[in-house]
Amino acid sequence: MASLIFTTTSTTAGDYIRSFADLRRQTRLLSGCAASNAQLGRRLPGVVRASRSSPRLNGRKLRVAVVGGGPAGGAAAEALAKGGVETILIERKLDNCKPCGGAIPLCMVDEFGLPLDLIDRRVTKYISMVRREVLDAYLRGRAADAGASVINGLFLRLDQPEGPGGSYKIHYNEYSAGGRGVGERRTEEVDAVVGADGANSRVAKSIGAGEYDYLIAFQERVQIPEVKMEYCKERAEMYVGDDVSPDFYGWVFPKCDHVAVGTGTLTHKTDIKKFQAATRLRAKNKIEGGTIIRFEAHPIPDHPRPRRVLGRVALVGDAAGYVTRCSGEGIYFAAKSGRMCAEAIVKGSENGTRMIDESDLRKYLEKFDRMYWPTFKALDVLKNVFYRSNATREALVEMCADEYVQKMTFDSYLYKRVVPGNPLDDLKLAVNTVASLSESKCLEQ
């Protein structure tokens, strides 16, 4: 019988990933009295109240602060404002060029009605490359048009409400228009907070959401000669190998007039420069003669935070940790989770007329988890099986040449669901996968 046990030669995931109980325990240490107060509050029996019985807000609308103006924040603020909720969107850097691969699936263009001129490049018709600064600004603009007030400010911290119906006090530094400098200290009282402030979320810290393991993605923007740019225009390349990354991949993604070359890793962060050099080597023929115009790095969450909702504060997007393994895709899930959270708030508050509580936010969690859990899990399985060693990566590359695989992958990527195919073909695919992995392992010697 073929040996199907791929011993964990190169992956150190088992050693590295802290037991998540440790992560939870940390939240108690980190959060201090604010979270523990909230925890005590929730320990009271029979406190869960349905939103229907929530008190109506007299003479005012529900006020929600969205912290962070990326895809998650922009989508959330727009949906909230459209739903009749008074929304403020706090973004610290309105012209931020977030380091990002910038690939969005077709379903995002459809579901969010993105105009086609936002998209720099189309890699096959399924994957669109955007510049984050362009996308983020567009979504924020839509939120503002819907009635949200966009504030250029840096969120500092939030204070928990005094009693069960109290409001959250958020502290932030507001930057004057165009002005640099420290900014003015301001506070706002809001009924709920949506934390969309990315991988290093301060809102998450405020609620003691806990830590997650994260990858470091490092990327260089390379300006290449026109003739080579032509070649790269419609192609996104991914390189796999121990030289490029032990648990992720290196990429060459086309942007408007340059390409982004990068790689990432979770387990060997200190070697990221070495991996980047290896990626450049692999892409040598495409980027020869180019100039590095900038380089950037950013953390990518590996899994959701232990706590994503506390009281009337919810996390969305990267702040919550919604990034797929294996491919590192997060923009679509950020926007979708922002929208879902906002819709849950709108529904629970009956268009801003009632107070909401934690159960309404948990409905958003439930919906999101149910809808996208299979996708995330499938990619986790792919990562565990195919990123283990060079042999399994060779098998992956071989499998990708298979037409049925391509069809299935694109369909799933397109719809963000795990789309079942023809059972006979699936069986053939399963056999091919096993054979490919087994043969590759034999060749590994």
């Binding site: 019988m1 073929a2 040996s3 046990i5 011993t7 964990t8 995931a13 088992g14 990933i17 998540f20 992560l23 939870r24 929730r42 320990r43 029996p45 869960v48 997650y212 390349e237 390189y239 190998g241 030289d243 420069k273 070495k274 980047q276 050099a277 450049r280 080597l281 692999r282 892409a283 023929n285 980027i287 020869e288 003669g289 180019g290 100039t291 590095i292 900038r294 380089f295 899994h303 959701p304 935070r305 232990p306 706590r307 393994r325 969690l365 859990w373 995330f376 899990k377 986790d380 565990n384 060079n390 071989e398 091919n432 054979a435 490919s436 043969e439 034999c442 060749l443 590994e444 010697q445």
Partner: protein, 268 residues
């Protein structure tokens, strides 16, 4: 030839295009200890004096530089570039474990039988039939080579080789049968002694054992053990793999399992 002149702290500036054939290559004059790559061709040098190596290598691997951070890179010196890859390779081969001041070149994989991105089966004929074992050997060598010397990918020379062209019985004969022999041997030994001990302890003979549920369970455990646990490390590996399969699920469900209060916890 891709060069990057990078300095340790400020942002890197340029990659200049150099073709292997014509331009001189950038080379760092200063001593750069090549990082220990898996390749056998590089070795750490403890005494890089002038830092110039007569033979070849042209490509500077930036990683060597960056990781090393010990030395500044002064103005990159220009050194001679070897005429062709082949010469490079032969030089390297001749030097063997020669001391190099900077990174070695990245010699491409070359084999006369590797044609157009795949193995030319006509060149593997033995007695009029394809010698699949030789194909497997060649592919093993190629993969090992690439692992040690990663190459730039190129759409002009794509890799078209697919392991599925090698017939299934080659794999079976070469890899699976020896393994099966070993495992069957182990199973036979374990089985014989287990049967003996059970017989001596309980008096149930071999034939009767095969009808007994408990004995059949023992047999199942023995077979599973032989299949799954081949080395001592396998026990830990299996535990890790098992944990790995459910770890992600736990991470996602963390937000649902709050503080052991039954009202808040929900199982997926």
């Amino acid at each position: 030839m891709l060069m990057a002149s990078l300095s340790p702290s400020p942002p890197p500036t340029s990659l200049s295009a150099l073709s292997l054939k014509s331009h001189p290559s950038l080379r760092f004059q200063s001593i750069l200890f090549p990082r220990k790559l898996p390749s056998l061709l590089l070795s750490r040098s403890a005494d890089n004096g002038a830092g110039v190596v007569s033979s070849a290598p042209t490509v500077v691997q930036e990683e060597e530089k960056e990781k090393k951070n010990e030395e500044e890179t002064p103005s990159p010196a220009v050194a001679e570039v070897p005429k062709a890859e082949d010469e490079q390779k032969s030089n390297l081969a001749a030097n063997g474990a020669a001391v190099k001041a900077e990174a070695a070149a990245v010699p491409k994989f070359k084999d006369t039988r590797w044609v157009g991105g795949t193995w030319d089966l006509k060149q593997f004929k033995k007695n009029g039939e394809t010698d699949w074992d030789a194909v497997v050997d060649a592919e093993v060598r190629r993969r090992k080579w690439l692992q040690d010397n990663p190459e730039a990918s190129s759409d002009d020379e794509p890799v078209l080789f697919d392991t599925s062209i090698i017939p299934w019985w080659t794999w079976v004969k070469r890899f699976h049968l020896p393994e099966a022999e070993i495992l069957n041997g182990r199973a036979a030994m374990v089985g014989f002694f287990m049967a003996y001990f059970v017989d001596s302890l309980t008096g149930v003979g071999l034939v009767d054992q095969t009808g007994n549920f408990f004995c059949k369970t023992l047999l199942f455990i023995a077979v599973a053990g032989v299949l799954l646990i081949r080395k001592n490390e396998d026990i830990d590996n299996l535990k890790k793999i098992l944990e790995e399969t459910t770890f992600y699920d736990k991470q996602w469900q963390a937000t649902w399992q709050e503080d052991q209060t039954s009202s808040a916890s929900k199982e997926k």
